[in-house]
């Protein structure tokens, strides 16, 4: 178990290191000069050269990489070229916002997805088909478009919910309880967007996993020895189906963070995804590097947690007799 966990942690660290190095390389190879962007069209060549030296961009690539890596590991993430703010503060605000959005949507998606998928697996062909069409459609919705449609319905037509941001402009002047309500109202639409799409994917997978287990011989044995349908489902089907489902949660994390990038962009949600999009558009190297690294760490950590979950549920993995 410990050896298994150790290997996975090591693999995760390699992924993070790889992502960071790749990002560094790509950003430096990319056309588009951040210094020219920073100083504007009136800058003289001399000014450009000085600014480049100040930012350390005149050094060889390997040296820049070594310096950046050393600082990054020590927690000095530099300053945003575009805004001059420290990158750590910039992302420090963003990480909790993204985690709140992605985490809540993950939990809701899987709770609802489990319910819908399990219902479908046991239902007759008509309900199954109707629900399948619904979940396929939900899963096919592009987040940025669904977001816009929800804004149209709930903000412009119904005037119920705000369209963007994480808090109203007047938030600082509100009492604690109304500030909380304001937060929740801003949270509703981005969360609904991500969750609706997530439910589609989760329900589809849960249905498949349940159906797969139901066709196994041991389920027939359980039925034959006289267990009630509920007991069969709970003790034999659900338990075995939960292994691929937990694995899928880990596998769907990159997709969820990817989806969050678009949803954050549409709703101006102050998370890592929006910062990343802005930074990419402005060629803001330090922010792009840090945001990518942070995303990679979040995804890898999530994968490790799902590995732990599988090991906890599946004794074969726990005892090292089977790879997850």
């Amino acid at each position: 178990m410990l050896a298994h966990l150790g290997t996975r942690t090591l693999a995760g660290a390699v992924v993070v290191a790889g992502v960071v190095s790749l990002t560094f390389l790509l950003m430096r190879l990319a056309p588009g000069d951040p210094v020219a962007r920073l100083l504007g069209p009136t800058a003289t060549p001399a000014q450009l050269a000085i600014q480049r030296r100040v930012l350390g961009l005149d050094r060889p690539l390997a040296a820049q990489y070594a310096i950046w890596l050393g600082r990054f590991v020590r927690g000095d993430w530099g300053r945003s070229i575009a805004t001059g703010r420290p990158v750590r503060a910039l992302l420090g605000d963003a990480v909790p916002a993204t985690l709140a959005l992605v985490g809540t949507s993950l939990v809701l998606s899987y709770l609802l997805g489990l319910a819908v998928g399990a219902w479908q697996a046991g239902a007759g062909p008509r309900i199954d088909t109707a629900l399948s069409i619904t979940t396929v459609t939900l899963f096919a919705l592009p987040g940025y478009w669904l977001g816009l449609m929800l804004v149209m319905a709930f903000t412009y037509w119904a005037h119920w919910l705000p369209a963007f941001g994480a808090a109203g402009l007047d938030a600082d002047g509100l009492t604690l309880s109304s500030r909380l309500a304001d937060r929740l109202r801003h949270f509703a639409l981005p969360l609904a967007t991500l969750t609706l799409i997530g439910v589609g994917g989760a329900a589809r997978f849960v249905r498949g996993a349940m159906r797969d287990v139901m066709s196994q011989p041991f389920v027939r044995t359980a039925e034959a020895k006289g267990l009630t349908a509920f007991q069969v489902t709970r003790r034999h089907v659900a338990r075995n189906a939960s292994i691929p489902i937990i694995t899928l949660i880990g596998l769907s994390l990159p997709a969820l963070f990817s989806g969050a990038v678009f949803v954050e962009a549409v709703f101006a949600w102050p998370g890592v995804g929006r910062r990343l999009v802005e930074a990419v558009q402005a060629r803001d190297y330090p922010v792009v590097m840090a945001a990518t690294a942070v995303t990679a760490v979040l995804v890898v950590t999530g994968n490790l947690l799902t590995d732990l979950g599988v090991a906890w549920i599946d004794p074969r993995v726990r005892n090292g007799t089977r790879e997850s």
């Binding site: 790509l26 990319a30 396929v136 498949g208 997709a255």
Partner: protein, 284 residues
């Protein structure tokens, strides 16, 4: 194939894709033929769907803020979406087959390193990678194809690797090797053709995904650039006029969802037709 067409999911998927591809190919015949045409902007902008403007032109899906016909732009956007998506999937299938084939057929360091690379790329958040690559050069359709191809080959590689590995120990392959054929030739002529069936499923699911991501990149301004219509940049431009002309953003989105659903259902049906044992696969 017969079994496939009897499957309603496959019939729907193929039907939608044929209609969309047909409309895209026959662009000038089914629309005004000029997606960037602007006339008297003030008189023709924000016309509702099914409206006829003062010069007698009919606009089945209305017009956008420049008075451009949304239906025509949708048809020409389909050209971009299908072409970009199709070529991107083709590229990713080629890369995936090469990587997966090599990893499956040459054990030892080749397999280990190729599988490690595959798992590594698979663990990356694809959109983050897309944003990075798209930010590297001037945005264009060609770049989007390359970027989507380079980030979408992993599932194909894993499938092909598995197939090739199980085929490599089969008697007909051992026979071909025993005849003294070079291993590369055995792989290309004898193993790969037998390993390609599951790739079709992956390609169908990948097409929907690629079209969706192309639209996403164009939506963020990192893909196909206006005034060339693409479903993604149409949604982006409709975003600004959501209040007074919601159809501008709604129409391309509905088209997008239809095509992605069609690809997913077709992929599901293909999967069941080819291999009834595996009923579930995730697309993203």
């Amino acid at each position: 194939m017969k079994r496939l067409l009897r499957d309603r999911r496959a019939a729907f998927g193929i039907g939608v894709l044929v209609i969309v591809a047909g409309a895209a190919l026959a662009g000038p015949l089914v629309s005004t033929g000029r997606p960037t045409l602007q006339r008297d902007v003030v008189a023709t902008r924000f016309l509702r769907p099914l409206a006829t403007d003062h010069s007698g032109s009919f606009h089945p899906l209305g017009t956008d803020r420049f008075g451009r016909d949304v239906w025509t732009r949708l048809v020409y956007g389909a050209r971009v979406s299908l072409a970009v998506g199709g070529l991107a999937v083709l590229l990713s299938v080629v890369i995936g087959v090469l990587v997966g084939g090599a990893a499956g057929f040459w054990p030892g360091p080749v397999r280990t390193s190729l599988l490690a690379v595959t798992d590594f790329v698979l663990a990356l958040p694809r959109v983050v990678l897309l944003l990075l690559l798209a930010a590297m050069a001037r945005p264009s359709a060609g770049l989007v194809i390359v970027v989507l191809g380079l980030t979408g080959w992993m599932s194909v590689a894993r499938l092909v690797h598995g197939e090739v590995r199980s085929l490599a120990v089969r008697p007909f392959v051992e026979g071909a090797v025993a005849l003294g054929l070079p291993r590369g030739r055995v792989l290309v002529r004898h193993v790969l053709p037998n390993a390609l069936t599951p790739v079709i499923v992956s390609a169908a699911l990948g097409l929907g995904n690629a079209i969706m991501l192309e639209a996403g990149l164009s939506f963020l301004g990192l893909g196909v650039q206006p005034p060339t219509p693409s479903w993604g940049n149409m949604i982006a431009s409709g975003r600004d006029t959501l209040v007074n002309a919601p159809w501008v953003a709604a129409a391309p989105g509905i088209a997008l969802v239809l095509v992605v659903v069609a690809c997913t259902l077709l992929g599901d049906a293909l999967q069941d037709a080819l291999n009834p044992a595996t009923r579930y696969q995730t697309a993203r």
